[in-house]
């Protein structure tokens, strides 16, 4: 289909980590062979525990970090052939913490105008008007134009961050924990705003969050990441209703819905998140998996197509790992 705005093909990013004094550096595979597609108007949510590579992946999609191998395409053009300004026109980030992502010494007006300046917009006389429009769109009162970030509430700051991301009309917005730093009553306002903007501007979102209630509310597609790989991907409704991968199941079980008749769930997941420098053999999830079978520790699972997505688990592979032997 033609409406794919962003595509990652077999993307890998390896960091070389110091192994200690007088020791060789060791590779850390933060992202390992990830395929992703975001279509126009879609909300893809990326979930997983900390350290699974979500943020590294997001940085690569923003063009801030080159992949070690694999390719990234924006609108069909490889990212590495585009200059930074063009990437920035298409993809924009919204970060978690609106306290540290806004320059405290710049006024709100100049924070939102800056992307226009950077892009060398050729008609400075329209800037003020465009800033006013975008501020109205994200629900910021005009009077804060000359204020500084310290004078705004957390929710208002996140609105400034959103306005700054949208002023150049990007096609994809990467929201890294967009509401984690906010209070519940403010969180709902920001979520409503993000939904409205998506419809109004036809944006696609990549939402990175550990708050699965938020993810279920927003996402149309869901990708579950574990130790640098996407272990399950699919339509959000299907995946939330019938998760296939044991890790997706455990992750969804740990969502605490506000229902006092249910107790605290017991996820049966071992506490030990593996050391990414020392990856488990075979399926990376096998040391914590309740369904682990003997061949899980020997053979890495293949991608099995499920619906319009995929899952990487031997439970759903008829070959039962015999393929590699």
């Amino acid at each position: 289909m033609n409406d794919i705005v962003l595509e990652a093909k077999d993307v890998t990013r390896t960091f070389m980590i110091s192994g200690g004094f007088m020791q060789a550096k060791r590779p850390l595979h933060a992202v390992n062979g990830v395929d992703l597609r975001i279509r126009k108007g879609e909300v893809l949510a990326l979930v997983g525990e900390s350290g699974c590579g979500k943020t590294t992946l997001a940085k690569m999609l923003l063009g801030l970090l080159p992949p070690t191998s694999g390719s990234l395409e924006l609108d069909g053009t490889p990212i590495e052939t585009m200059d930074r300004l063009r990437v920035a026109q298409t993809v924009q980030p919204i970060f978690q913490d609106p306290y540290s992502s806004l320059n405290p010494r710049k006024s709100i007006g100049s924070i939102i105008t800056l992307p226009l300046k950077v892009q060398g917009d050729n008609d400075p006389s329209t800037w003020r008007k465009r800033v006013d429009e975008i501020m109205e769109l994200v629900g910021l009162p005009r009077r804060v134009y000359n204020n500084y970030p310290s004078q705004l509430s957390g929710g208002q700051r996140q609105r400034v961050a959103i306005a700054r991301a949208l002023i150049n009309r990007p096609r994809i917005v990467i929201c890294d924990e967009p509401t984690s730093a906010l209070d519940v009553s403010v969180q709902s306002q920001i979520l409503n705003l993000l939904q409205d903007l998506r419809e109004e501007l036809g944006l696609a979102y990549l939402v990175i969050s550990h708050n699965l209630a938020v993810v279920e509310h927003m996402a149309t597609r869901l990708a579950v990441m574990y130790l640098g790989r996407i272990v399950e991907e699919g339509d959000a409704d299907t995946l939330f209703r019938t998760p296939k991968h044991p890790y997706s199941k455990a992750l969804l079980e740990s969502v605490l819905t506000p229902d006092p008749s249910l107790g605290v769930p017991d996820t049966h997941l071992g506490a030990a998140y593996p050391n990414p420098l020392d990856m488990p053999s075979g399926c990376r999830f096998h040391p914590r998996c309740v369904n682990a079978m003997p061949h899980c520790s020997a053979v890495a699972p293949r991608k099995i197509p499920v619906g319009d997505g995929h899952v990487e688990c031997h439970l759903y592979d008829e070959n039962e790992g015999k393929l590699a032997s």
């Binding site: 519940v184 409503n192 506000p258 605290v264």
Partner: protein, 343 residues
């Protein structure tokens, strides 16, 4: 050591106030907060940032910043007063009969000492025990909180542990002296969801096993619903509603509680992309004295009376369920319960 009373009541706080002088006047972040916890009971204090929930817990532990002044009618730990008993007596109680678990285990553990060292210190500060006994207790509790190969962990430093493990160590440390009361301030906020579920599961188990009272402070309504026996909702320095978890989540009385519950997307219930509820406006400043209901400026059901009357906690139709709202559908509205006796 003071004798412990037989009563089930572990903590009773009546009309706690905290005042902090600020350049613009007197900040009153905690106002007339009364609460109680029984043995084996979990009270969740829930509210948004700045509502005074953390300061309430610090005031109970007498850990407020030195500028802050606290007053209360009484504060009883298992029947003994723990209000203004002097710093020395208080530090004997802190960590022994009541202990605290903080949000960020990385900053609350000392990075320069091994965890064995820090665990043993928690016990040896209060009890005359040999270091070997302290070590045995540490190993016993580390195993209780689900840390495998506990003996080997004692020589490790906090930076060598993951966030989940560090929080388990913090819990073990809080349990070293077998406290009557545990105050956990956002114990799982810094952790992953999977680890959060495990830690909450562990806290609930331990609390049942050791029959402690627990105050859990959080902003996460999901956590509250799953772990609380009773819930106190705080807004702008006051408790606005108290009741059992069922009462708060199924039949909330106060407009603020109802607003909060409408703000969160509920998997399976809220339709995707559906507009979530919102509470417009901002929290009022708590500097100086405020007239009327604190929530009046944001309340969808506000009336003129709300802006002038002092609103007390009123009993609802259900026993144990009280709400600070003039609209409260009260069983005995003609005899409003005095605030101090409530909760």
């Amino acid at each position: 050591m003071a004798t412990k009373s037989d009563s089930k009541r572990v903590l009773e706080v009546s009309r706690l106030n905290v005042e902090i002088p600020v350049p613009t006047g007197m900040l009153r972040p905690v106002q007339n907060v009364s609460l109680h916890v029984d043995r084996g009971e979990t009270l969740c204090v829930v509210g948004e940032s700045g509502c005074g929930k953390s300061l309430t817990s610090l005031a109970i532990m007498d850990l407020l910043p030195s500028k802050a002044k606290r007053t209360c009618d009484h504060m009883l730990l298992s029947g003994d007063s723990v209000f203004q008993i002097g710093e020395r007596a208080m530090s004997d109680i802190r960590g022994d009969r009541m202990s605290m678990i903080f949000q960020e285990p990385m900053t609350s553990l000392n990075p320069a000492y091994t965890i064995g060292n820090q665990l043993a210190e928690a016990l040896q500060r209060h009890r005359k025990v040999s270091s070997d006994e302290a070590r045995q207790r540490a190993i016993y509790l580390l195993e209780k909180v689900g840390i495998t190969a506990a003996a080997g962990r004692l020589g490790q430093y906090p930076h060598q542990l993951s966030g989940g493990l560090r929080q388990r160590v913090m819990i073990a440390m809080a349990l070293m002296c077998g406290p009557d009361l545990i105050i956990a301030d956002e114990p799982t906020t810094a952790l992953d969801v999977t680890i959060q579920a495990q830690i909450l599961h562990l806290l609930a188990d331990l609390q049942r096993e050791f029959q402690m009272g627990m105050i859990l402070i959080t902003h996460d309504l999901g956590v509250v619903a799953r772990i609380a026996d009773r819930v106190a909702v705080m807004y702008a320095g006051q408790i606005v509603e108290t009741g059992t978890a069922q009462q708060i989540f199924n039949t909330p009385e106060h407009p603020y509680t109802r607003g909060l519950l409408e703000c969160i997307p509920i998997p399976g219930k809220t339709r995707r992309g559906e507009r979530l509820g919102a509470i417009p406006g901002i929290v009022p400043s708590l500097v100086g004295h405020m007239q009327g209901c604190h929530f009046a400026s944001r309340c969808p059901q506000v009336s003129n009376a709300c802006r002038s009357a002092t609103v007390e906690l009123l009993p609802t139709k259900q026993p144990g369920h009280i709400s600070r709202c003039l609209l409260t559908q009260s069983a005995g509205a003609e005899t409003p319960q005095r605030e101090g006796a409530a909760s």
